[in-house]
Amino acid sequence: MSSLKVTDLNTSFRTDDGIVKAVSGVSFDLQEGHTLGVVGESGSGKSVTFLSVMGLLDPRQAQISGSVQLDGEELLGASPARLRQLRGRRIGMIFQDPMTSLNPVKSIGWQLEEAVLIHHDVSRKEARRRAVEILGQVEIPRAGQRIDDYPHQFSGGMRQRVMIAMALINNPEMLIADEPTTALDVTTQAQILRLMKNLQEEFKMAIVMITHDLGVVAELADDVIVMYGGKVVEQANVDDLFVKPEMPYTWGLLGSLPRLNSTGARLEQIPGQPPSLLNPPSGCPFHPRCEFVMNICREELPVLEPSEQGENHIFRCHLDDESRARIWNQKRAALTAEETAA
């Protein structure tokens, strides 16, 4: 029974230009066997959040505060040795670019065995057996022969499978996937996502899926957090998020998506660009781009409050319930009208 409980996580970087507040006050809960989707664009802090959780940031540059509890054990402030024990053993992580994420001068067998040998005191033979086994589980054909090949001898999709194998070889309870399919073709992406779903069932693990692609989130996630400007701006169960989003940024994201059934009408666009983390906007991070901005939005950061659906759906916005419901209904009507017109 494991879970990851993050409370009020803050991460800032000391740079030459000043202090960058990459993550501010992020909290969430990840239950065993569940999939959490983390959606955001550049500068949203979605990747930095989980690099902080894993302890992969350079302590000389990054200042992290808050609480990260894995099964009740506090990770922030834990010794580096303890964090190393957990990384790759109880939490696995895979990254975006499979082309550069593997050491080019070592065979994939060696790299997989390394993952085992770091955490288990077993013979090399045993580590190799385990490596071949997991390569088979990620559907790499002829695993027994390919294990001695080098990364450049595999395609992008295959390399990502190797990465997944490496992250799962020690049977972790949790897999953090940072944009794992962004660099892949769409048919390869479908394969990898299906593989991840199957493995989740097989290994009974929790998955964190960090992505900017709302389609991927809709397909894989049980719960979703939407991040903007280093903060969580909305969090909900996946169905609720797509049916009744409560916050203008989420509306904008959903509205600006070109759809497969679109008629080519003008997309709803969010003006401006994602915020600078060096000089974050005052008050609500989204206010410079929000079409419903009010004076209070510039001054005060709205707190996370639950929606009518309950505690599971929280969001930040100063607009009152009635206005929000009205606006969303209008937008949704526009979207559906387009769909039926198609």
Partner: protein
């Protein structure tokens, strides 16, 4: 892999050919009168004519070149010195080991220094250690080897009497008329030359290694290794070093090849009887065969070392080793 090797060998031979042609052209064709240079100022007309005939200087250029090449490849000879008729091969054979001992000894020193220092600097970028190191690097690159050599020779050799001021001792005892001999004396005399020679390279390599290690440490696969729970030690040794030192191999090969042609400054300051010193002397005396011989030899060294580097690199990097 065999393909790769054969291609490299072909290419090396081709380069050798081109290098010898150009060398020959520069020294034997362009100067006005090789025969005059060979015969000396006081040479009579008949003597000059006999030289011209003997050195094939009356034949067209490509025939001259052919004889030159034939001499070199078939007979292994680079001709004879104009000054004293000594065989150029034997002169080179005598001087090359001196230059080699300077270069290889210096290389071992500079690598032993620059690799740890470079890595340390990369691990603590912008720290005090790093800044101090970089300052020394700047001095090392800017200061001329002659200046360094003279300063060291004066301060440590002359004033402090810690090492000899100049001169060379044979490693192997038994040469006639040698002032000193034997490994200890040899090393003792080489200390200052080694330091002088290696300072510039050490500085350059520290900078190179630091940059390479810094760049490698920010690669994605290093992050992957950390995500697997690898310790810093493991990350450095297994993932960073192997990849970041690859460029060093390439550059080292080139530097060694070039230096073997004669570390002119160091040899001059410390009066070491190596190729550098020899070629300067020959140049001042217009002794064409020796000049040509040393240039051909050093070109060969560069080609050979480049070849070795190519092969080593191909061996170390599986992407090259395994490409079909």
């Amino acid at each position: 892999m065999a393909h790769f090797l054969i291609r490299r060998i072909f290419w090396a031979l081709f380069l050798f050919l081109v290098a010898t042609i150009i060398t020959y052209l520069i020294f034997w064709v362009i100067p006005t009168n090789p025969a005059q240079l060979a015969g000396g100022h006081a040479a009579s007309k008949e003597f000059l004519q006999s030289i011209t005939h003997r050195l094939h200087l009356d034949k067209p250029i490509w025939v001259q070149y052919y004889y030159f090449l034939e001499n070199l490849v078939v007979h292994g000879s680079l001709g004879r010195s104009f000054l004293n008729q000594q065989s150029v091969d034997s002169i080179i054979g005598k001087d090359a080991p001196v230059t080699a001992s300077l270069v290889f000894g210096g290389a071992i020193l500079w690598l032993s220094l620059s690799i740890p220092v470079g890595i340390l600097s990369a691990l603590r970028p912008r720290s005090l250690t790093d800044r101090v190191t970089m300052t020394f690097v700047l001095i090392g690159i800017s200061a001329h080897p002659v200046w360094i050599g003279l300063i060291l020779s004066f301060v440590i050799g002359y004033k402090l009497h810690l090492t000899p001021i100049a001169g060379y001792c044979n490693f192997w005892p038994g040469a006639p008329g040698a002032q000193c001999e034997g490994p200890v004396q040899w090393a003792y005399h080489m200390i200052l030359p080694w330091i002088t020679f290696m300072i510039l390279f050490a500085a350059l390599y520290v900078r190179l290694i630091r940059a390479s290690v810094l760049e490698t440490m920010s690669e994605d696969y290093v992050r992957t290794a950390r995500a697997k729970g690898a310790s810093q030690r493991r990350v450095m040794i297994q993932h960073v070093l192997r990849n970041s030192l690859l460029p060093v191999v390439t550059i080292l090969g080139m530097d060694l090849g070039l230096a073997l042609g004669g570390a002119i400054f160091t040899e001059t300051v410390f009066n070491l009887p190596g190729l550098g010193n020899q070629v300067i002397r020959a140049y001042n005396a217009n002794d064409l065969p020796i000049i040509t011989g040393v240039v051909v030899f050093s070109t060969c060294c560069v080609i050979v070392f480049n070849f070795i580097v190519d092969v080593t690199y191909g061996f170390l990097d599986p992407r090259i080793r395994l490409s079909n």
